[in-house]
């Protein structure tokens, strides 16, 4: 999705362009850009776009929120916008009103489990939770004797071990030690942690796709400017073919992620067709991140390896986002098992289902 689709996305893109210019941010050593960016996003209602108005949000379409996330990937924004959107969406599933301020969601890895005790408290450990230390609240999927619940917890009540992702963004371990949630509700019928992981995976896929679009753009620009052996390196066939491959990876990531987002936006349920879309998006975007980032770096040479250059803002985030809400290996195994269980003759009908 290379152009603004509508007013919501156009607003987001304008805010990013004004307040999240990668070059500016990269040279801002004290992080002074964060607050104005977050304020502008909040004033535009973007972090809570997926929360209904009656629950305190902006009540935007799923499609709009997905497009915002894709745009955020194109700017590689390092504020918890995607996380707050996801948390709002999760609370919305439970009919829980969304609080102000930034949020994140837990767990963020498919095999982590938060338990809901008989006393109504939460226990467990969630690793790799993005921006947990910076968030005011965490939206949680918990498992109790009566099934799955959705809870809202205050971040300052949690034990948080700070960590960093590959891209040096916060990726924390959150420990729930018999802690009482601010609000808790049973999840709707059919909702489980896998759904949340798939939703998160599609969001990360859209971010990766956006970052790849930008990796392509800055690599093509650089190849047109950088001179070696007396001509721009973009005139060398080997560089051209590498960039053509990068274009293919960026295209595949965008097609996979936007298709999955569209499938989720159209379908209420996480049925096999949506599972195929969402799992494929995470798998294919992660594969594209690996191949695409490698090409972008190869084209840039040594300069792309420096912290001074903006390349790493996109390349390392694209790589880091692979790890959240299930790696490509995780989803590949899950998808392969589902395909196998359905049987060979049901493979094509599933692939051709829309």
């Amino acid at each position: 999705m290379a152009e603004a689709e509508n007013i919501v996305v156009a607003t987001a893109e304008k805010i990013f362009a004004d307040l999240a210019d990668p070059q500016t941010i990269n040279h801002d050593k004290n992080g002074g850009w964060r607050l104005p960016l977050w304020q502008a996003l909040s004033e535009a209602g973007l972090p809570l776009a997926w929360v209904a108005e009656e629950l305190g949000g902006a009540g935007a379409d799923l499609a709009d929120g997905f497009a915002v996330v894709n745009a955020a990937g194109r700017f590689a924004v390092a504020v918890p916008l995607a996380e707050t959107l996801l948390a709002g969406w999760l609370l919305q599933q439970g009919g829980i009103a969304a609080p102000e301020g930034s949020m994140t969601i837990a767990p963020a890895r498919p095999n982590d489990r938060i338990a809901l005790g008989a006393d109504g408290t939460l226990s467990g450990r969630a690793r790799g939770v993005a921006f947990a230390k910076a968030a005011r609240h965490v939206a949680v999927v918990a498992h109790g004797d009566d099934g799955v619940s959705i809870a809202l917890v205050a971040a300052d009540q949690l034990r948080i071990e700070p960590g960093l992702s590959l891209a040096n963004d916060p990726s924390d371990t959150v420990i729930f030690d018999r802690m009482a949630p601010v609000a808790i509700r049973s999840a709707p019928a059919g909702f489980d942690q896998d759904n949340m992981m798939l939703m998160g995976g599609v969001v990360r896929g859209l971010q990766i796709a956006g970052a790849l679009d930008r990796l392509l753009e800055i690599s093509v620009t650089y190849a047109g400017e950088r001179v070696a052996f007396e001509k721009p390196i973009g005139k060398f066939q080997a560089v051209q073919h590498n960039l053509a491959r990068l274009a293919g990876e960026a295209a595949a990531a965008n097609a996979a992620a936007t298709s999955a987002a569209d499938a989720i936006a159209r379908s209420g349920a996480f049925d096999d067709a949506v599972f195929l879309e969402a799992a494929s998006a995470k798998i294919r975007c992660a594969e594209a991140a690996e191949k695409g980032a490698a090409i972008a770096h190869q084209v840039h040479g040594a300069i792309g390896f420096t912290t001074e250059h903006i390349l790493h803002r996109f390349s390392l985030r694209a790589l880091a986002w692979r790890d959240d809400f299930g790696s490509e290996s995780h989803w590949a195994v899950a998808l392969g098992r589902r395909i196998a269980a359905r049987g060979a003759d049901e493979l094509w009908p599933l692939v051709a289902s829309r």
Binding site: E217, V220, A263, S329, G336, A340, V351
Partner: protein, 385 residues
């Protein structure tokens, strides 16, 4: 740099109806013994009647005007028919080129009386077309073609040869480019003209070329004073280069461009059974995710065609990614099949398919635009050339 867009296209409801019809039709054909869907290697000797039946269903020339026998249906409907035929390994070779490449050229460049004569017969599945582009010394570089068309009374005489001409041995017509003038200094692509050639004319000899798959689709076609009448000239004299580029685009991103070895994936899923180990599950999951993604890209391109766009770069990307994928697929499936039980019921089918698919693989990144040519087109689209 042009922004690349692959918007998610939802196939409209009429496509789902159509898909059911196509599947039912193919099931009947299989039941009647027209073809074996598990056996991709064959010469399609019996496909003449099959082509007519496909034509009767209205599945050839689907997007063309009704006055020429077409059906004025959408590119998305055509997409569904193409993919179902391909996945079933249906014997489409006799009509596919006419439907996908030759017909559209005639629609655009042929005189009205030719269109009225030929297009309805294509739509009825009666005509087989071949494409005369490559020559022994001009492959990817089309504009190096040397086979001459020289002026004669009421038309042209053709001398020289074409090569790698798929289906020429059974074709009724060929659409070919011939040299009518030398190239100029300013434009080395100048001097070629496109013609419609009746393959039954005197002076045309078709020599089959053996392929490493065991098939004989390829041919060398030798022209010795073969006559082509004036009204068989297509488009501008000496200006085929303007036409040839868009022509290639037609064959660049359909589902046939990533599904050619698809059958081995289905058989692999059958062979591993309902409960594969982690290795098998991951392998299948990744391949399906890649397949699904390409199909969504390809459907998206069909949507662009339907919207009247000319997605040259997007189509090239789908073909580049798609042909690399379908080329590697048999090797990846071979890896994954390494530990399939000896007793798997379809083991022999899978082994035979793999043997054929592995031998097919090398051509997939050569035919209809090599990887190198496609990446050049993409690089041009990126503004690098």
């Amino acid at each position: 740099m042009t922004a690349l867009r692959f918007d998610p296209i939802r196939l409209p409801p009429e496509c789902e109806e159509l898909r059911k019809e196509v599947r039912a039709f193919l099931a009947e054909e299989i039941a009647a013994g027209t073809f074996n869907p598990f056996q991709p290697l064959r010469e399609d000797a019996d496909a003449r009647e099959f082509s007519r039946r496909v034509g009767e269903r209205g599945w050839i020339g689907m997007t063309w005007p009704k006055k020429y026998g077409g059906h004025e249906r959408s590119f998305l409907e055509r997409y569904v028919v193409t993919e179902e035929m391909r996945v079933a390994n249906a014997p489409v070779r006799r009509f596919f080129v006419a439907d996908r490449q030759s017909g559209p050229i005639l629609l655009r460049y042929a005189p009205e009386h030719i269109k009225m004569d030929i297009l309805p017969r294509i739509c009825r599945g009666e005509l087989c077309f071949a494409i005369g582009m490559s020559e022994p010394n001009s492959g990817s570089d089309l504009f190096a073609a040397k086979t001459r068309a020289t002026r004669t009374e009421g038309g042209w005489l053709i001398n020289g040869s074409k090569i790698w001409t798929t289906s020429a041995h059974m074709a009724d017509y060929m659409i070919a480019i011939f040299r009518t003038s030398p190239a100029t200094k300013e434009n080395r692509r100048h001097g070629l003209t496109q013609f419609l050639v009746n393959m039954k004319s005197p002076g045309i000899k078709v020599n089959p070329i053996g392929q490493i798959t065991g098939q004989k689709e390829f041919n060398e076609v030798v022209f010795t004073d073969a006559f082509v009448p004036d009204d068989h000239q297509l488009g501008e004299i000496d200006g085929a280069w303007k036409q040839a580029t868009s022509e290639l685009a037609y064959e660049r991103s359909g589902p046939e461009r990533f599904l050619e070895t698809y059958y081995v994936l289905t058989e692999l899923v059958r062979a591993v059974g309902p409960d594969p180990d982690t290795r098998g599950a991951e392998g299948i999951g990744r391949l399906v995710a890649q397949l699904h993604t390409m199909r969504r890209m390809s459907v998206s391109v069909a949507g662009m065609l339907q919207a009247g766009k000319e997605p040259v770069v997007e189509a090239s990307i789908v073909k580049d990614v798609g042909t690399i994928w379908e080329q590697q697929l048999p090797h990846r499936v071979r890896d994954l099949a390494a530990f399939v039980e000896e007793e798997a019921g379809n083991r022999e089918t899978l082994e035979n398919q793999l043997s054929f698919a592995i031998r097919t693989a090398p051509k997939l990144t050569i035919q209809g635009g090599t990887t190198e040519v496609l990446r050049g087109i993409i690089a041009r689209g990126l503004g690098l050339r």
